[in-house]
């Protein structure tokens, strides 16, 4: 009888371990912290390396009720979207490890307003935070600098930090003890370059989360998928500039897709709206988790449940270990 040797790769790299949030003892106010990273093999291949902890799930809440969200989503959350503190609590109950607070674009958005919102959220939850600006360079800088200062020592992840505006955000993270989310457009090289530029400013690599961006299922997901696989392979092969844990936002991407947004006027073959929409988010997220995501940001509570279920089994180490 032939005996087959389990084919194991020898990796010499390791994903950096990064902790989000800070407890009182660590200079913050969080009830708990969340650590990600530390893998020494490809996702969930327990038979050849360490997967010390599961990927974290973040749930996105916004400072006010989103105007452009799919009714499927708004319905799932109900009234809490009217109040950011309530929403934050609901998200924590829905199983979030981390809360992502995203500021939306509106006239009242100002540094002071951002500080107030942040206070509400900090009071509403003991979970670590990720804070994203509205996505417009100037405003992002204003909002994030204010938020960074207001939450000094909380060890947030500040985002989105991109090559054209990284300096201000990185400076804020340096000054107030936070992390940054370095986002680049689905390209291995750009991801590495931004990590280098940021660390050249003096922010240690232990404080950079990288966000290689991804498209939703059907909208370029495979691009992001392969970029993440390549980044993770490079990290395991010892490339120090790719060893950041990866954060991706499949929730936002998937719910932008027509398949998730539109209930009417779509082909019959698309099937039931809610079923399809939730599958859209879940499949985008689960595929990215399997390509190396360490933090996935989701929107629908049902997706959270399903992705959590998958991660739980993948972490159970029931796989072949012989």
């Amino acid at each position: 009888m032939p005996t087959i040797e389990v084919p194991k790769e020898k990796w010499n790299g390791k994903v950096r371990e990064i902790t989000l949030g800070a407890t009182a003892a660590e200079g913050g106010t969080r009830a708990k912290t969340v650590t990600v990273g530390g893998e020494t093999t490809l996702p969930f291949l327990h038979f050849e390396g360490e997967i010390p902890r599961p990927p974290a799930i973040a749930i996105e809440v916004q400072d006010r009720k989103p105007v452009d969200w799919s009714p499927v989503l708004l319905e799932a959350w109900g009234d809490v979207t009217e109040d950011v503190a309530a929403w934050t609590k609901a998200a924590a109950e829905a199983g979030a490890d981390v809360i992502l607070l995203k500021f939306s674009l509106h006239d009242e958005l100002s540094p002071d307003y951002a500080r107030q919102v942040l206070r509400h959220v900090l009071d509403a939850t003991g979970l670590p935070l990720i804070v994203f600006g509205p996505g417009q360079a100037d405003l992002d800088n204003d909002v994030l600098v204010a938020v960074a200062e207001e939450g000094k020592g909380e060890n947030f992840v500040l985002g989105v930090c991109e090559d054209k505006n990284y300096r201000t955000i990185v400076a804020a993270a340096l000054a107030h003890g936070h992390l940054v989310n370095a986002r680049t457009a689905m390209d291995v090289n750009l991801a590495k370059q931004l990590n280098i530029l940021i660390s050249d400013m003096g922010l240690p690599l232990e404080r950079i989360v990288m966000d290689p961006t991804t498209g939703a299922l059907g909208y370029g997901m495979e691009y992001g998928y392969s970029v993440m696989e390549r980044l993770r392979l490079a990290a395991l092969q010892g490339d120090g500039m790719t060893q950041q844990p990866m954060l991706v936002t499949p929730g936002e991407e998937a719910w932008r897709a027509k398949e998730a947004r539109a209930g009417e006027g779509v082909p019959q073959a698309w099937g039931d709206w809610a079923e399809r929409a939730i599958n859209w988010e879940t499949l985008t997220a689960s595929t990215l988790v399997e390509s190396g995501a360490d933090i996935v940001v989701l929107r629908h509570p049902e997706s959270v449940k399903r992705v959590r279920g998958m991660i739980d089994v993948l972490m159970s180490k029931s796989g072949v270990t012989s």
């Binding site: 090559d163 390209d187 291995v188 090289n189 750009l190 590495k192 370059q193 280098i196 530029l197 050249d200 490339d239 500039m241």
Partner: protein, 692 residues
């Protein structure tokens, strides 16, 4: 025995005497003091362009007794001979004993640093023997005059004289006398030139010439050419009997940006003069693609053809004037150039070069008559365009491969020709693979706001002080001003200047690795100009035009793209055959900027792979060199044809990996710093210094 602690203390407080020559000042200084500091204390003004970081080598001094009494922290820029001679960098050298320090005059340092970069004189890889190698010959003929007895026509008479002339009378150079000798030997049975042809316009002059010179003439004959290797020979011209000292030919390289020319004596194989000028087509587009597009419009093709011919004629004029001849005395021209340039010269529509599937009209064009092209050499002289490989790897490369002799060795060689297109060849005597990528004209000083060619007034090297961010630069000087002891005002920055500027800005942190100017440094030279962020290299009062010479963010991006494209070309070429760039044994660099660039700077910006410096060989304009070889030696002419045939061409546009390699290279020096260990070291050093 003294305790170690004690002994250390004793050394630190020790004082030594330092004497500076030629000024003779003497001073006491402590162990560990920098020579540059001590010099400053006594009021000696050492030149320190890089701000004392040990990068520029300009602060070199000579320490007597080969450098005893000092310790060199860094010996970068110093050769082993320098060390023996006692050279030390004042900014990197500390005192450990009594010394005498000589401060050399600055010019001496300049000269020492420059010598390693000066272009090699043109040496032919073979001993030129026109009888064996040259196909255009000068044949002294003496004809029997016609008479009533012999009414043979002039043409037959000429042919008869030629056939019966001793073969050695095809000419032999007598180096002893320095004259062209007609030698006869008993065993000779004639030249073998039996079959002769001539163009009508040559024929028209035969009768007059023979009679005017009493039946003794010099015939200019082209015995063969590549597309008719077995003849028949062609009579090009008849010269008076005395005209035997020279027989002129020209080798030309038509670059997209620069056209260069050698005027060559075909009797001796010597290059009499060289000349170069921007290609007149530039105003119709900076790169080949724009030219191709321009050519497809109205009479764009005709216009571009006459523009380049204009440039060639101008160069011919200039070269001929210097050699005190007339261009019409030139009887042969060999042209190298990329496929588009050759198409445009010949008036062939180039549009298919640019469109899928990227083919040329002809890779190996037949010779054309100068008069047909409008080139002002002898009208019936042949203009022979060398063969190309593919649309984007042209005759400049086949010529370069031969000119650089890359395929003569089994050493894995990378040959690079940097012009507006970066063309490169990888291989050895067994195989060759080539590709081309568009670098743009930046390295030739064009397409950059204050860029210029490497001529008088060009800033050709720059150093930036790592603390003050002030630049120091060297300008290609005007000999007349120099003779009067006056500085040459700067007019712009040439390719090598741009490379060194980019490298200095990067190493000193004036720009980040992505090329963004760092406004946090607080230097007045970093500012927002009309065209966005920029760095001022020269203030208006130091320039000829009276306005600031700057490098803008747009220029920086252009340069990074240019270097990125070239490096990506290397990467993909190596990948395509499964070779690692570090396996390359020789890097041969040709191209019109080849002889000036500074390897270290080019490596620092990631233009060239980070290999030991001794692997790089600058060959100057290899295309022109190849054209010269083809002009002089029919064997080389044939080899160029074979190289073009046997070279494998890698089409980068069909290759996704290029895009990948390109984005990876759009960073300083490269996204993979590990591929540039020497640069990583310099950066680590810099960070150490800034901590200190």
């Amino acid at each position: 025995m003294a305790l170690p602690g004690n002994s250390t203390r004793r050394i630190i407080i020790a004082e030594h005497s330092v004497r500076f020559e030629p000024s003779g000042q003497t001073v006491q200084a402590r162990t560990g003091a920098l020579i540059s500091e001590i010099a400053r204390q006594v009021g000696l003004d050492l030149n320190m362009p890089c701000g004392g970081q040990g990068r520029c080598g300009r602060c070199a001094v000579i320490v007597q007794d080969g450098g005893a009494g000092i310790r060199r922290r860094s010996t970068l820029r110093l050769t082993s001979e320098d060390l023996v001679a006692g050279y030390a960098l004042a900014c990197q050298t500390v005192l450990e004993g009594d010394v005498v320090v000589t401060v050399p005059v600055q010019e001496k340092i300049e000269r020492r640093l420059v010598t390693d970069k000066t272009a090699t004189p043109i040496v032919l890889p073979f001993t030129y023997d026109p009888l064996q190698h040259q196909s255009v010959r000068l044949l002294p003929l003496t004809l029997d005059p016609p008479s009533m007895v012999d009414q043979t026509d002039d043409w037959s008479r000429l042919k008869r004289a030629m056939a019966s002339a001793p073969s050695s009378s095809l000419g032999q150079w007598d180096s002893g006398n320095g004259t062209w000798m007609k030698q006869e030997s008993a065993a000779d049975d004639g030249t073998g030139v039996v079959d002769l042809m001539a163009d009508l316009s040559t024929l028209r002059r035969v009768g007059t010439m023979l009679r005017q010179h009493n039946w003794a003439v010099n015939a200019v004959v082209e015995i063969d050419i590549w597309d008719r290797p077995d003849g028949p020979a062609r009579l090009i011209d008849l010269l008076p009997p005395g005209r035997t000292e020279h027989l002129w030919g020209a080798a030309v390289d038509i670059g997209t940006t620069t056209v260069s020319l050698y005027l060559v004596d075909l009797l001796t194989g010597e290059v009499a003069t060289k000349a170069a000028e921007y290609n007149g087509q530039i105003k119709r587009g900076e790169d080949v693609i724009s030219r191709i597009i321009y050519a497809s419009k109205n009479d764009g093709l005709g216009e571009l053809q006459s523009l380049v011919v204009g440039t060639i004629n101008e160069l011919l004029e200039r070269a001929a004037r210097r050699a005190k001849i007339s261009p019409s005395e030139i009887y042969k021209m060999v042209v190298a150039g990329n496929s588009t340039m050759i198409h445009l010269l010949l008036g062939l529509p180039p549009s298919s070069i640019r469109l899928e599937p990227f083919v040329t009209t002809i890779n190996h064009p037949p010779p054309a008559l100068a008069s047909d092209l409008g080139i002002n050499i002898f009208p019936q002289a042949n203009v022979d365009c060398l063969p190309g490989v593919a649309s984007y790897v042209g005759a400049d490369i086949s010529a370069g491969v031969i000119g650089s002799q890359m395929c003569d060795s089994s050493a894995l060689t990378l040959f690079l020709d940097v012009g507006t297109n970066g063309e490169m060849v990888l291989g050895d005597c067994d195989w060759l693979i080539s590709c081309a990528c568009s670098a743009g004209p930046a390295f030739e000083g064009a397409g950059v706001r204050d860029g210029m060619r490497a001529t008088v007034g060009a800033i050709e090297e720059v150093w930036i002080n790592g603390e003050t961010y002030e630049p120091t630069y060297r300008v290609i000087s005007n000999p007349k001003l120099e003779a009067q002891g006056q500085p040459t005002p700067s007019r712009g920055i040439c390719g090598s200047g741009l490379i060194s500027l980019l490298s200095e800005m990067f190493i000193t942190g004036v720009i980040d690795k992505a090329g963004n100017l760092n406004f946090d440094l607080g230097s007045s030279r970093i500012r927002r100009g009309e065209h966005g962020p920029e760095y001022v290299v020269a203030w208006a009062d130091q320039t000829e035009q009276g306005h600031d010479i700057v490098i803008t963010k747009v220029d920086i991006d252009n340069l990074i793209r240019a270097k990125g494209a070239i490096y990506a070309g290397f990467t993909v070429l190596a990948q395509s055959v499964g070779i690692d760039l570090s396996m390359v044994e020789r890097v041969l660099i040709g191209g019109s900027f080849g002889q000036y660039i500074n390897i270290e700077k080019a490596v620092q910006i990631g233009l060239l792979p980070d290999l030991p410096w001794e692997k790089f060989h600058f060959l100057g304009n290899t295309a022109l060199q190849g054209a010269l070889l083809a002009l002089l030696n029919r064997e080389y002419r044939q080899q160029i044809g074979e190289a073009a045939q046997g070279m494998t061409y890698l089409e980068l546009s069909a290759d996704n990996s290029f895009y990948e390699a390109f984005t990876s290279a759009l960073f300083l020096p490269h996204t993979e710093l590990a591929q540039f260990p020497s640069v990583a070291e310099v950066l680590a050093d810099r960070d150490m210094q800034s901590v200190r």
